[in-house]
Protein backbone atom coordinates (compact mmCIF):
# COMPACT_ATOMS: atom_id res chain seq x y z
CA UNK A 1 0.00 0.00 0.00
CA UNK A 2 1.26 3.48 -1.01
CA UNK A 3 2.17 5.83 1.85
CA UNK A 4 -0.02 8.93 1.94
CA UNK A 5 1.80 12.11 1.03
CA UNK A 6 -0.09 15.39 1.33
CA UNK A 7 0.28 17.59 -1.76
CA UNK A 8 -2.37 20.16 -0.85
CA UNK A 9 -3.25 21.23 2.68
CA UNK A 10 -5.86 23.88 3.40
CA UNK A 11 -6.30 25.04 7.00
CA UNK A 12 -9.16 27.37 7.91
CA UNK A 13 -8.80 29.04 4.55
CA UNK A 14 -10.98 31.95 3.49
CA UNK A 15 -11.09 34.02 0.37
CA UNK A 16 -12.91 37.32 0.14
CA UNK A 17 -13.25 39.69 -2.80
CA UNK A 18 -14.04 43.37 -2.41
CA UNK A 19 -17.49 44.19 -3.79
CA UNK A 20 -18.65 47.79 -3.54
CA UNK A 21 -18.11 48.87 0.06
CA UNK A 22 -18.10 45.33 1.40
CA UNK A 23 -16.70 41.91 0.68
CA UNK A 24 -17.96 38.78 -1.02
CA UNK A 25 -16.83 35.59 0.69
CA UNK A 26 -15.97 33.10 -2.04
CA UNK A 27 -14.44 30.47 0.25
CA UNK A 28 -15.31 30.09 3.89
CA UNK A 29 -13.26 28.14 6.42
CA UNK A 30 -12.00 25.44 4.10
CA UNK A 31 -10.08 22.58 5.70
CA UNK A 32 -8.87 19.99 3.26
CA UNK A 33 -6.06 17.59 2.73
CA UNK A 34 -5.33 16.15 -0.70
CA UNK A 35 -2.79 13.38 -1.14
CA UNK A 36 -0.51 12.39 -3.99
CA UNK A 37 -2.20 10.26 -6.61
CA UNK A 38 -5.76 11.30 -5.80
CA UNK A 39 -8.29 11.74 -8.60
CA UNK A 40 -10.76 14.11 -7.04
CA UNK A 41 -13.36 16.62 -8.02
CA UNK A 42 -14.56 19.87 -6.56
CA UNK A 43 -18.23 19.74 -7.37
CA UNK A 44 -20.86 22.37 -6.95
CA UNK A 45 -23.05 24.87 -8.71
CA UNK A 46 -21.74 28.04 -10.34
CA UNK A 47 -20.47 30.51 -7.74
CA UNK A 48 -19.79 27.80 -5.16
CA UNK A 49 -16.05 28.61 -5.11
CA UNK A 50 -14.64 25.76 -7.24
CA UNK A 51 -12.56 27.93 -9.55
CA UNK A 52 -11.41 30.20 -6.72
CA UNK A 53 -10.19 27.16 -4.83
CA UNK A 54 -8.46 25.85 -7.94
CA UNK A 55 -6.75 29.23 -8.45
CA UNK A 56 -5.38 29.16 -4.91
CA UNK A 57 -4.14 25.60 -5.25
CA UNK A 58 -2.59 26.65 -8.57
CA UNK A 59 -0.83 29.56 -6.80
CA UNK A 60 -2.58 32.04 -9.08
CA UNK A 61 -4.23 33.62 -6.06
CA UNK A 62 -3.67 33.73 -2.32
CA UNK A 63 -6.06 33.15 0.58
CA UNK A 64 -7.43 36.13 2.51
CA UNK A 65 -7.20 34.19 5.77
CA UNK A 66 -5.95 30.81 6.89
CA UNK A 67 -3.25 28.78 5.24
CA UNK A 68 -2.89 26.98 1.92
CA UNK A 69 0.03 24.63 1.50
CA UNK A 70 0.89 23.27 -1.94
CA UNK A 71 3.69 20.70 -2.03
CA UNK A 72 4.63 21.88 1.45
CA UNK A 73 4.96 25.51 0.38
CA UNK A 74 2.73 28.17 1.90
CA UNK A 75 0.97 29.86 -1.04
CA UNK A 76 0.74 33.19 0.81
CA UNK A 77 4.47 33.43 1.36
CA UNK A 78 5.56 32.67 -2.21
CA UNK A 79 7.11 35.47 -4.24
CA UNK A 80 5.76 35.89 -7.81
CA UNK A 81 8.92 34.22 -9.08
CA UNK A 82 8.63 31.29 -6.67
CA UNK A 83 4.98 30.71 -7.48
CA UNK A 84 5.73 30.88 -11.21
CA UNK A 85 8.47 28.32 -10.72
CA UNK A 86 6.16 26.08 -8.71
CA UNK A 87 3.53 26.23 -11.48
CA UNK A 88 6.12 25.65 -14.14
CA UNK A 89 7.62 22.55 -12.53
CA UNK A 90 4.94 20.98 -10.41
CA UNK A 91 1.46 22.09 -11.45
CA UNK A 92 -0.27 21.42 -14.74
CA UNK A 93 -3.40 23.26 -15.87
CA UNK A 94 -6.22 22.07 -18.12
CA UNK A 95 -8.81 24.66 -19.06
CA UNK A 96 -12.38 24.42 -20.23
CA UNK A 97 -11.55 26.19 -23.51
CA UNK A 98 -8.18 24.44 -23.97
CA UNK A 99 -6.18 27.73 -24.08
CA UNK A 100 -3.77 26.49 -26.70
CA UNK A 101 -1.47 29.15 -28.13
CA UNK A 102 -2.86 29.64 -31.65
CA UNK A 103 0.37 30.55 -33.43
CA UNK A 104 2.17 27.40 -32.23
CA UNK A 105 1.96 23.89 -33.55
CA UNK A 106 0.75 21.09 -31.30
CA UNK A 107 4.38 20.10 -30.68
CA UNK A 108 5.38 23.66 -29.80
CA UNK A 109 2.38 24.13 -27.49
CA UNK A 110 3.41 21.07 -25.51
CA UNK A 111 7.07 22.05 -25.58
CA UNK A 112 6.38 25.57 -24.24
CA UNK A 113 6.48 24.69 -20.53
CA UNK A 114 9.77 22.83 -21.03
CA UNK A 115 11.28 25.85 -22.77
CA UNK A 116 10.57 27.83 -19.63
CA UNK A 117 12.44 25.15 -17.67
CA UNK A 118 15.42 25.56 -20.01
CA UNK A 119 15.66 21.82 -20.74
CA UNK A 120 17.95 20.67 -23.52
CA UNK A 121 16.50 20.12 -27.00
CA UNK A 122 16.92 16.35 -26.73
CA UNK A 123 15.17 16.23 -23.34
CA UNK A 124 12.37 18.37 -24.68
CA UNK A 125 11.95 16.22 -27.77
CA UNK A 126 11.75 13.01 -25.73
CA UNK A 127 9.28 14.46 -23.26
CA UNK A 128 7.02 15.97 -25.95
CA UNK A 129 7.07 12.74 -27.98
CA UNK A 130 6.11 10.75 -24.87
CA UNK A 131 3.32 13.18 -24.04
CA UNK A 132 1.95 12.99 -27.59
CA UNK A 133 2.00 9.18 -27.31
CA UNK A 134 0.09 9.29 -24.00
CA UNK A 135 -2.75 11.24 -25.59
CA UNK A 136 -2.57 9.45 -28.94
CA UNK A 137 -1.79 12.49 -31.05
CA UNK A 138 1.68 11.66 -32.35
CA UNK A 139 0.44 12.18 -35.92
CA UNK A 140 -0.83 15.69 -35.15
CA UNK A 141 2.47 17.09 -33.87
CA UNK A 142 2.80 19.66 -36.65
CA UNK A 143 -0.87 20.65 -36.78
CA UNK A 144 -2.05 24.05 -35.60
CA UNK A 145 -4.75 24.29 -32.89
CA UNK A 146 -7.17 25.66 -35.49
CA UNK A 147 -6.86 22.35 -37.38
CA UNK A 148 -7.90 20.23 -34.38
CA UNK A 149 -11.29 19.12 -33.13
CA UNK A 150 -12.40 19.99 -29.60
CA UNK A 151 -11.49 16.56 -28.29
CA UNK A 152 -8.07 16.68 -29.91
CA UNK A 153 -7.46 20.17 -28.56
CA UNK A 154 -8.25 19.05 -25.04
CA UNK A 155 -5.93 16.05 -25.44
CA UNK A 156 -3.18 18.46 -26.48
CA UNK A 157 -3.96 20.51 -23.36
CA UNK A 158 -3.63 17.33 -21.28
CA UNK A 159 -0.31 16.53 -22.95
CA UNK A 160 0.88 20.09 -22.26
CA UNK A 161 -0.12 19.77 -18.60
CA UNK A 162 1.52 16.34 -18.24
CA UNK A 163 4.71 16.84 -20.25
CA UNK A 164 6.62 18.19 -17.28
CA UNK A 165 5.43 15.30 -15.08
CA UNK A 166 3.81 17.58 -12.51
CA UNK A 167 2.76 16.46 -9.04
CA UNK A 168 -0.65 18.09 -9.47
CA UNK A 169 -2.91 18.68 -12.45
CA UNK A 170 -5.75 21.17 -12.07
CA UNK A 171 -8.58 20.80 -14.54
CA UNK A 172 -11.30 23.43 -14.68
CA UNK A 173 -14.43 22.01 -16.36
CA UNK A 174 -12.31 20.04 -18.84
CA UNK A 175 -15.27 18.37 -20.53
CA UNK A 176 -17.60 21.36 -20.71
CA UNK A 177 -16.98 21.97 -24.40
CA UNK A 178 -16.83 18.33 -25.43
CA UNK A 179 -19.42 15.80 -26.55
CA UNK A 180 -19.95 12.63 -24.51
CA UNK A 181 -17.60 10.46 -26.55
CA UNK A 182 -14.73 12.93 -26.37
CA UNK A 183 -15.41 13.58 -22.69
CA UNK A 184 -15.03 9.88 -21.93
CA UNK A 185 -11.87 9.67 -24.05
CA UNK A 186 -10.11 12.49 -22.23
CA UNK A 187 -11.26 11.29 -18.82
CA UNK A 188 -10.01 7.80 -19.53
CA UNK A 189 -6.70 9.32 -20.63
CA UNK A 190 -6.42 11.35 -17.45
CA UNK A 191 -7.38 8.43 -15.28
CA UNK A 192 -4.75 6.27 -16.96
CA UNK A 193 -2.08 8.94 -16.46
CA UNK A 194 -3.16 9.30 -12.85
CA UNK A 195 -2.59 5.62 -12.29
CA UNK A 196 0.57 5.27 -14.36
CA UNK A 197 2.35 8.42 -13.16
CA UNK A 198 0.73 8.78 -9.73
CA UNK A 199 -0.18 12.38 -10.58
CA UNK A 200 -2.82 14.10 -8.47
CA UNK A 201 -5.76 15.30 -10.55
CA UNK A 202 -8.09 17.94 -9.13
CA UNK A 203 -11.17 18.80 -11.16
CA UNK A 204 -13.59 21.66 -10.83
CA UNK A 205 -16.77 20.34 -12.40
CA UNK A 206 -20.48 19.84 -12.26
CA UNK A 207 -20.48 17.39 -15.15
CA UNK A 208 -21.97 14.01 -14.34
CA UNK A 209 -19.67 12.29 -16.84
CA UNK A 210 -16.61 13.55 -14.98
CA UNK A 211 -18.02 12.44 -11.64
CA UNK A 212 -18.21 8.83 -12.84
CA UNK A 213 -14.44 8.72 -12.98
CA UNK A 214 -13.64 10.50 -9.70
CA UNK A 215 -12.32 8.60 -6.70
CA UNK A 216 -13.16 11.41 -4.29
CA UNK A 217 -15.75 14.16 -4.55
CA UNK A 218 -15.75 17.35 -2.48
CA UNK A 219 -19.08 19.13 -2.64
CA UNK A 220 -18.91 22.89 -2.32
CA UNK A 221 -21.79 25.23 -1.73
CA UNK A 222 -21.57 28.97 -1.04
CA UNK A 223 -17.84 28.64 -0.48
CA UNK A 224 -18.11 25.91 2.13
CA UNK A 225 -17.34 22.20 2.00
CA UNK A 226 -20.72 20.51 2.26
CA UNK A 227 -19.59 16.96 1.81
CA UNK A 228 -16.32 15.11 1.24
CA UNK A 229 -16.89 11.57 0.00
CA UNK A 230 -14.43 8.92 -1.09
CA UNK A 231 -15.86 6.56 -3.71
Amino acid sequence: MKEKEEVVGLRGMMKRFPVGNGFFTALDQIDLSINRGEFLGLVGPSGSGKTTLLNIIGTLDIPSEGEAFVLNRSVSSLTPKESAELRNKSIGFIFQSYNLLPVYTVYENIEFALLLQKNSKEERHKAVTDALEWVGLADKAQSRPSQLSGGESQRVAIARAMVKRPAIVLADEPSANLDAKNSHTILQTMRRLNEELNTTFIFATHDEKVMQYLKRIIYLEDGKVEKDSVI
Binding site: P80, R87, F93, R160
Partner: protein
Protein backbone atom coordinates in the same frame (compact mmCIF):
# COMPACT_ATOMS: atom_id res chain seq x y z
CA UNK B 1 12.99 32.18 -25.68
CA UNK B 2 11.02 35.42 -25.20
CA UNK B 3 12.33 36.77 -28.50
CA UNK B 4 11.27 33.61 -30.33
CA UNK B 5 7.83 33.74 -28.73
CA UNK B 6 7.42 37.45 -29.45
CA UNK B 7 8.36 37.05 -33.11
CA UNK B 8 6.06 34.05 -33.51
CA UNK B 9 3.22 35.97 -31.92
CA UNK B 10 3.56 39.06 -34.08
CA UNK B 11 4.02 37.04 -37.26
CA UNK B 12 0.95 35.08 -36.27
CA UNK B 13 -1.01 38.32 -35.84
CA UNK B 14 -1.04 38.76 -39.64
CA UNK B 15 -2.35 41.95 -41.25
CA UNK B 16 -2.25 44.05 -38.09
CA UNK B 17 1.48 43.37 -37.78
CA UNK B 18 2.17 44.25 -41.39
CA UNK B 19 0.20 47.46 -41.11
CA UNK B 20 2.34 48.57 -38.16
CA UNK B 21 5.50 47.45 -39.90
CA UNK B 22 4.54 49.32 -43.09
CA UNK B 23 3.82 52.58 -41.27
CA UNK B 24 6.98 52.39 -39.15
CA UNK B 25 9.19 51.43 -42.08
CA UNK B 26 7.79 54.35 -44.12
CA UNK B 27 8.72 56.73 -41.30
CA UNK B 28 12.15 55.13 -40.97
CA UNK B 29 12.96 55.45 -44.69
CA UNK B 30 11.61 59.01 -44.72
CA UNK B 31 13.86 59.89 -41.76
CA UNK B 32 16.91 58.41 -43.45
CA UNK B 33 16.10 60.22 -46.72
CA UNK B 34 15.52 63.54 -44.98
CA UNK B 35 18.68 63.22 -42.91
CA UNK B 36 20.52 62.31 -46.12
CA UNK B 37 19.28 65.50 -47.76
CA UNK B 38 20.16 67.54 -44.70
CA UNK B 39 23.66 66.07 -44.37
CA UNK B 40 24.29 66.54 -48.07
CA UNK B 41 23.05 70.12 -47.94
CA UNK B 42 25.32 70.87 -44.99
CA UNK B 43 28.30 69.25 -46.68
CA UNK B 44 27.67 71.21 -49.90
CA UNK B 45 27.13 74.44 -48.05
CA UNK B 46 30.32 74.01 -45.99
CA UNK B 47 32.42 73.04 -48.99
CA UNK B 48 31.03 75.93 -51.01
CA UNK B 49 31.63 78.38 -48.21
CA UNK B 50 35.26 77.25 -47.84
CA UNK B 51 35.93 77.27 -51.54
CA UNK B 52 34.15 80.44 -52.62
CA UNK B 53 33.69 82.77 -49.69
CA UNK B 54 35.14 82.25 -46.25
CA UNK B 55 38.30 80.30 -46.97
CA UNK B 56 39.45 78.86 -43.61
CA UNK B 57 39.10 82.04 -41.58
CA UNK B 58 39.38 85.77 -42.22
CA UNK B 59 40.98 88.90 -40.86
CA UNK B 60 38.64 91.87 -40.92
CA UNK B 61 39.30 95.56 -40.83
CA UNK B 62 38.06 96.68 -37.43
CA UNK B 63 35.39 98.85 -39.13
CA UNK B 64 34.04 96.14 -41.36
CA UNK B 65 30.56 94.81 -40.73
CA UNK B 66 29.04 92.94 -43.67
CA UNK B 67 25.55 93.46 -42.25
CA UNK B 68 25.91 97.25 -42.14
CA UNK B 69 26.50 98.86 -45.53
CA UNK B 70 27.31 102.18 -43.90
CA UNK B 71 30.51 100.70 -42.47
CA UNK B 72 31.86 99.95 -45.94
CA UNK B 73 32.94 103.52 -46.54
CA UNK B 74 35.44 103.29 -43.67
CA UNK B 75 36.16 99.56 -43.79
CA UNK B 76 39.59 99.73 -45.36
CA UNK B 77 43.04 99.89 -43.87
CA UNK B 78 46.61 99.61 -45.12
CA UNK B 79 47.89 96.06 -45.26
CA UNK B 80 50.14 95.60 -42.21
CA UNK B 81 53.74 94.68 -42.85
CA UNK B 82 53.34 91.57 -40.69
CA UNK B 83 51.10 90.09 -43.38
CA UNK B 84 53.25 90.78 -46.41
CA UNK B 85 55.07 87.46 -46.27
CA UNK B 86 51.79 85.55 -45.92
CA UNK B 87 50.45 87.36 -49.01
CA UNK B 88 53.58 86.45 -50.97
CA UNK B 89 53.28 82.83 -49.74
CA UNK B 90 49.65 82.81 -50.93
CA UNK B 91 48.52 81.65 -47.51
CA UNK B 92 46.30 84.74 -47.26
CA UNK B 93 44.81 87.03 -49.88
CA UNK B 94 43.51 90.59 -49.45
CA UNK B 95 40.08 91.71 -50.64
CA UNK B 96 38.98 95.35 -50.91
CA UNK B 97 35.32 96.35 -50.99
CA UNK B 98 33.66 99.43 -52.37
CA UNK B 99 30.05 100.27 -53.02
CA UNK B 100 29.15 101.23 -56.57
CA UNK B 101 26.27 101.47 -59.03
CA UNK B 102 26.05 99.59 -62.31
CA UNK B 103 24.12 100.90 -65.31
CA UNK B 104 23.13 98.34 -67.88
CA UNK B 105 20.38 98.30 -70.45
CA UNK B 106 18.86 101.40 -68.92
CA UNK B 107 18.68 99.87 -65.47
CA UNK B 108 20.50 100.96 -62.37
CA UNK B 109 21.74 98.39 -59.88
CA UNK B 110 23.53 98.79 -56.58
CA UNK B 111 26.58 96.60 -56.54
CA UNK B 112 29.57 95.84 -54.40
CA UNK B 113 32.92 96.01 -56.11
CA UNK B 114 35.32 93.43 -54.77
CA UNK B 115 38.99 93.85 -55.53
CA UNK B 116 40.92 90.59 -55.51
CA UNK B 117 44.45 89.59 -56.44
CA UNK B 118 44.31 87.93 -59.90
CA UNK B 119 47.07 85.55 -58.77
CA UNK B 120 45.24 84.29 -55.68
CA UNK B 121 44.41 80.59 -55.46
CA UNK B 122 42.62 80.45 -52.14
CA UNK B 123 39.11 81.13 -53.45
CA UNK B 124 37.62 79.56 -56.54
CA UNK B 125 36.70 82.98 -57.96
CA UNK B 126 38.23 82.84 -61.48
CA UNK B 127 40.43 85.86 -60.65
CA UNK B 128 43.05 84.85 -63.22
CA UNK B 129 40.58 86.21 -65.81
CA UNK B 130 41.25 89.65 -64.36
CA UNK B 131 44.92 89.63 -65.22
CA UNK B 132 46.27 91.79 -68.10
CA UNK B 133 44.55 95.11 -68.51
CA UNK B 134 46.96 96.35 -71.19
CA UNK B 135 44.21 97.95 -73.25
CA UNK B 136 43.20 100.06 -70.29
CA UNK B 137 39.82 98.36 -69.92
CA UNK B 138 38.87 97.08 -66.51
CA UNK B 139 38.02 93.40 -66.58
CA UNK B 140 35.42 92.00 -64.24
CA UNK B 141 34.17 88.54 -63.35
CA UNK B 142 30.66 88.04 -62.10
CA UNK B 143 28.54 85.11 -61.02
CA UNK B 144 25.57 83.78 -62.94
CA UNK B 145 23.09 85.46 -60.59
CA UNK B 146 24.70 88.85 -61.15
CA UNK B 147 24.89 88.17 -64.89
CA UNK B 148 21.18 87.44 -64.82
CA UNK B 149 20.39 90.62 -62.96
CA UNK B 150 22.54 92.78 -65.24
CA UNK B 151 21.56 90.75 -68.29
CA UNK B 152 25.25 90.77 -69.13
CA UNK B 153 27.32 88.16 -70.92
CA UNK B 154 31.07 87.74 -71.28
CA UNK B 155 32.41 90.52 -73.51
CA UNK B 156 29.64 92.99 -72.58
CA UNK B 157 30.53 96.41 -71.28
CA UNK B 158 28.88 97.67 -68.13
CA UNK B 159 29.05 101.24 -66.89
CA UNK B 160 29.84 101.57 -63.23
CA UNK B 161 29.94 104.58 -60.97
CA UNK B 162 31.72 104.68 -57.63
CA UNK B 163 33.08 107.09 -55.07
CA UNK B 164 36.73 107.32 -54.09
CA UNK B 165 37.96 107.57 -50.51
CA UNK B 166 37.28 111.33 -50.48
CA UNK B 167 33.71 110.91 -51.67
CA UNK B 168 34.32 112.08 -55.25
CA UNK B 169 32.26 110.26 -57.90
CA UNK B 170 33.84 108.68 -60.92
CA UNK B 171 32.45 106.41 -63.63
CA UNK B 172 33.86 104.00 -66.13
CA UNK B 173 33.00 101.04 -68.30
CA UNK B 174 34.13 97.61 -67.31
CA UNK B 175 34.13 94.55 -69.51
CA UNK B 176 32.75 91.24 -68.32
CA UNK B 177 35.64 88.81 -68.76
CA UNK B 178 33.90 85.74 -67.44
CA UNK B 179 30.73 84.52 -65.73
CA UNK B 180 31.29 81.90 -63.07
CA UNK B 181 28.89 79.38 -61.62
CA UNK B 182 28.95 79.14 -57.85
CA UNK B 183 26.52 77.74 -55.31
CA UNK B 184 27.34 80.57 -52.93
CA UNK B 185 25.08 83.53 -53.55
CA UNK B 186 26.94 85.85 -51.16
CA UNK B 187 29.87 86.18 -53.55
CA UNK B 188 27.62 86.32 -56.61
CA UNK B 189 24.38 88.27 -56.23
CA UNK B 190 25.15 92.01 -56.42
CA UNK B 191 28.91 91.38 -56.51
CA UNK B 192 31.38 92.42 -59.22
CA UNK B 193 34.95 91.16 -58.90
CA UNK B 194 37.75 93.24 -60.39
CA UNK B 195 41.47 93.20 -59.86
CA UNK B 196 42.65 94.51 -56.50
CA UNK B 197 45.07 96.94 -58.10
CA UNK B 198 42.33 98.43 -60.24
CA UNK B 199 39.99 98.94 -57.32
CA UNK B 200 42.75 100.43 -55.18
CA UNK B 201 43.55 102.83 -57.97
CA UNK B 202 39.90 103.71 -58.64
CA UNK B 203 39.21 104.42 -54.96
CA UNK B 204 42.63 105.85 -54.15
CA UNK B 205 43.04 103.22 -51.48
CA UNK B 206 46.54 102.21 -52.45
CA UNK B 207 47.93 99.31 -50.42
CA UNK B 208 44.66 98.89 -48.50
CA UNK B 209 42.23 96.02 -47.96
CA UNK B 210 38.88 95.38 -46.25
CA UNK B 211 39.55 91.82 -45.23
CA UNK B 212 41.90 88.93 -45.81
CA UNK B 213 40.86 85.40 -46.68
CA UNK B 214 43.02 82.74 -44.99
CA UNK B 215 43.96 79.50 -46.69
CA UNK B 216 43.92 76.10 -44.99
CA UNK B 217 47.68 76.39 -44.55
CA UNK B 218 47.51 79.76 -42.80
CA UNK B 219 48.61 79.68 -39.17
CA UNK B 220 46.94 82.95 -38.24
CA UNK B 221 44.51 82.28 -35.39
CA UNK B 222 44.45 85.68 -33.69
CA UNK B 223 44.08 89.41 -34.28
CA UNK B 224 46.92 91.12 -36.09
CA UNK B 225 47.16 94.74 -34.97
CA UNK B 226 43.79 96.34 -35.72
CA UNK B 227 42.79 93.41 -37.93
CA UNK B 228 40.27 91.20 -36.22
CA UNK B 229 40.53 87.43 -36.62
CA UNK B 230 37.23 85.68 -37.49
CA UNK B 231 37.19 81.93 -37.15
CA UNK B 232 35.02 79.46 -39.09
CA UNK B 233 32.44 79.19 -36.32
CA UNK B 234 31.82 82.90 -36.65
CA UNK B 235 31.92 83.01 -40.44
CA UNK B 236 29.56 80.05 -40.77
CA UNK B 237 27.26 81.09 -37.95
CA UNK B 238 24.45 81.89 -40.42
CA UNK B 239 24.73 78.44 -41.88
CA UNK B 240 24.75 76.81 -38.47
CA UNK B 241 21.76 78.91 -37.44
CA UNK B 242 19.86 77.83 -40.51
CA UNK B 243 20.89 74.23 -39.92
CA UNK B 244 19.63 74.45 -36.36
CA UNK B 245 16.32 75.89 -37.52
CA UNK B 246 16.01 73.14 -40.16
CA UNK B 247 16.76 70.55 -37.50
CA UNK B 248 13.99 71.93 -35.32
CA UNK B 249 11.60 71.81 -38.28
CA UNK B 250 12.61 68.23 -39.02
CA UNK B 251 12.22 67.26 -35.36
CA UNK B 252 8.67 68.63 -35.42
CA UNK B 253 7.82 66.83 -38.68
CA UNK B 254 9.30 63.54 -37.48
CA UNK B 255 7.68 63.86 -34.08
CA UNK B 256 4.30 64.10 -35.83
CA UNK B 257 5.10 61.18 -38.14
CA UNK B 258 6.45 59.06 -35.29
CA UNK B 259 3.49 59.86 -33.07
CA UNK B 260 1.12 58.67 -35.82
CA UNK B 261 3.17 55.52 -36.42
CA UNK B 262 3.61 54.79 -32.72
CA UNK B 263 -0.06 55.42 -32.03
CA UNK B 264 -0.75 52.51 -34.32
CA UNK B 265 1.65 50.33 -32.28
CA UNK B 266 0.13 51.59 -29.03
CA UNK B 267 -3.37 50.85 -30.28
CA UNK B 268 -2.34 47.35 -31.37
CA UNK B 269 -0.69 46.68 -28.03
CA UNK B 270 -3.62 47.94 -25.98
CA UNK B 271 -6.11 45.97 -28.04
CA UNK B 272 -3.86 42.95 -28.04
CA UNK B 273 -3.56 42.91 -24.25
CA UNK B 274 -7.32 43.27 -23.96
CA UNK B 275 -8.06 40.52 -26.47
CA UNK B 276 -5.37 38.14 -25.32
CA UNK B 277 -6.33 37.95 -21.63
CA UNK B 278 -6.83 34.20 -21.95
CA UNK B 279 -3.40 33.82 -23.53
CA UNK B 280 -1.84 35.94 -20.78
CA UNK B 281 -3.50 33.66 -18.24
CA UNK B 282 -2.09 30.63 -20.06
CA UNK B 283 1.44 32.04 -19.98
CA UNK B 284 1.12 32.66 -16.24
CA UNK B 285 -0.36 29.19 -15.68
CA UNK B 286 2.48 27.62 -17.65
CA UNK B 287 4.97 29.25 -15.30
CA UNK B 288 5.77 32.71 -16.56
CA UNK B 289 5.85 35.52 -14.03
CA UNK B 290 3.59 38.48 -14.86
CA UNK B 291 6.75 40.56 -15.24
CA UNK B 292 7.97 38.12 -17.86
CA UNK B 293 4.66 38.37 -19.70
CA UNK B 294 5.04 42.16 -19.61
CA UNK B 295 8.49 41.76 -21.12
CA UNK B 296 7.05 39.47 -23.78
CA UNK B 297 4.41 42.02 -24.82
CA UNK B 298 6.96 44.85 -24.72
CA UNK B 299 9.23 42.77 -26.90
CA UNK B 300 6.38 42.11 -29.30
CA UNK B 301 5.79 45.86 -29.68
CA UNK B 302 9.51 46.46 -30.10
CA UNK B 303 9.67 43.73 -32.72
CA UNK B 304 7.38 45.81 -34.94
CA UNK B 305 10.08 48.43 -35.14
CA UNK B 306 12.82 45.85 -35.75
CA UNK B 307 10.77 44.29 -38.56
CA UNK B 308 10.02 47.79 -39.85
CA UNK B 309 13.72 48.58 -40.00
CA UNK B 310 14.44 45.32 -41.82
CA UNK B 311 11.58 46.05 -44.23
CA UNK B 312 12.87 49.60 -44.54
CA UNK B 313 16.26 48.29 -45.59
CA UNK B 314 14.68 45.92 -48.11
CA UNK B 315 12.40 48.39 -49.90
CA UNK B 316 14.18 51.54 -48.79
CA UNK B 317 17.69 50.66 -49.97
CA UNK B 318 16.86 50.67 -53.70
CA UNK B 319 14.73 53.80 -53.25
CA UNK B 320 17.40 55.63 -51.26
CA UNK B 321 20.06 54.61 -53.77
CA UNK B 322 17.91 55.89 -56.64
CA UNK B 323 17.22 59.09 -54.71
CA UNK B 324 20.92 59.63 -54.05
CA UNK B 325 21.55 59.43 -57.82
CA UNK B 326 18.65 61.55 -59.07
CA UNK B 327 18.73 64.02 -56.18
CA UNK B 328 16.13 66.52 -55.11
CA UNK B 329 15.75 69.37 -57.61
CA UNK B 330 15.55 72.72 -55.86
CA UNK B 331 13.35 75.59 -56.99
CA UNK B 332 15.13 78.62 -58.53
CA UNK B 333 14.33 80.77 -55.50
CA UNK B 334 16.52 78.58 -53.28
CA UNK B 335 19.67 79.78 -55.03
CA UNK B 336 18.99 83.31 -53.78
CA UNK B 337 19.06 82.30 -50.14
CA UNK B 338 22.72 83.19 -49.75
CA UNK B 339 23.87 79.72 -48.80
CA UNK B 340 25.86 77.32 -50.90
CA UNK B 341 23.32 75.20 -52.74
CA UNK B 342 23.47 73.29 -55.96
CA UNK B 343 20.56 73.04 -58.38
CA UNK B 344 19.77 69.70 -56.81
CA UNK B 345 20.65 68.07 -53.50
CA UNK B 346 22.02 64.58 -53.73
CA UNK B 347 21.40 62.86 -50.38
CA UNK B 348 24.38 61.44 -48.54
CA UNK B 349 23.46 58.76 -46.00
CA UNK B 350 25.71 58.89 -42.96
CA UNK B 351 25.92 55.66 -40.90
CA UNK B 352 25.66 57.69 -37.68
CA UNK B 353 22.49 59.32 -38.91
CA UNK B 354 20.94 55.97 -39.91
CA UNK B 355 21.93 54.49 -36.56
CA UNK B 356 20.35 57.41 -34.73
CA UNK B 357 17.08 56.89 -36.63
CA UNK B 358 17.15 53.17 -35.80
CA UNK B 359 17.82 53.76 -32.11
CA UNK B 360 15.11 56.41 -31.92
CA UNK B 361 12.44 54.25 -33.56
CA UNK B 362 13.33 51.11 -31.56
CA UNK B 363 13.56 52.96 -28.24
CA UNK B 364 10.28 54.79 -28.76
CA UNK B 365 8.40 51.70 -29.86
CA UNK B 366 9.80 49.85 -26.84
CA UNK B 367 8.53 52.62 -24.57
CA UNK B 368 5.14 52.82 -26.27
CA UNK B 369 4.76 49.03 -26.02
CA UNK B 370 5.72 48.97 -22.36
CA UNK B 371 3.08 51.54 -21.34
CA UNK B 372 0.04 49.27 -21.91
CA UNK B 373 2.01 46.07 -21.14
CA UNK B 374 2.99 47.23 -17.64
CA UNK B 375 -0.64 46.84 -16.59
CA UNK B 376 -0.27 43.06 -16.89
CA UNK B 377 1.73 43.00 -13.64
Amino acid sequence: MLIRTAIKNILGAGRRTWLNVAVLSFVFVLMVAYNGIFDSFMKDALTSAHEWDTGYGQLWSEHYDPYDVFTLQDAHEPVPEALNQSIIDQSITPVLLSQATAYQNGNMQNILLRGIDPEQQILKIPSHQLAGDETGTIKAVIGKRMANTLKARPGDNVLIRWRDRHGAFDAREIVIASVFDSNTATIDAGQVWISLDNLRQMTQMTGEATYFVLSKQSRIKQDIGTWVYKDMDFLLSDLYLMAQSSRIESVIIFTILLVVALLSVFDTQTLSIFRRQKEIGTYVALGMTPQRVTRLFTLEGTSYSILAILAGFIWGAPFLYWFSKTGLKLPESYSEMGLGMRDAIYPVYQPASILTSIILIVALSMLISYIPARKII
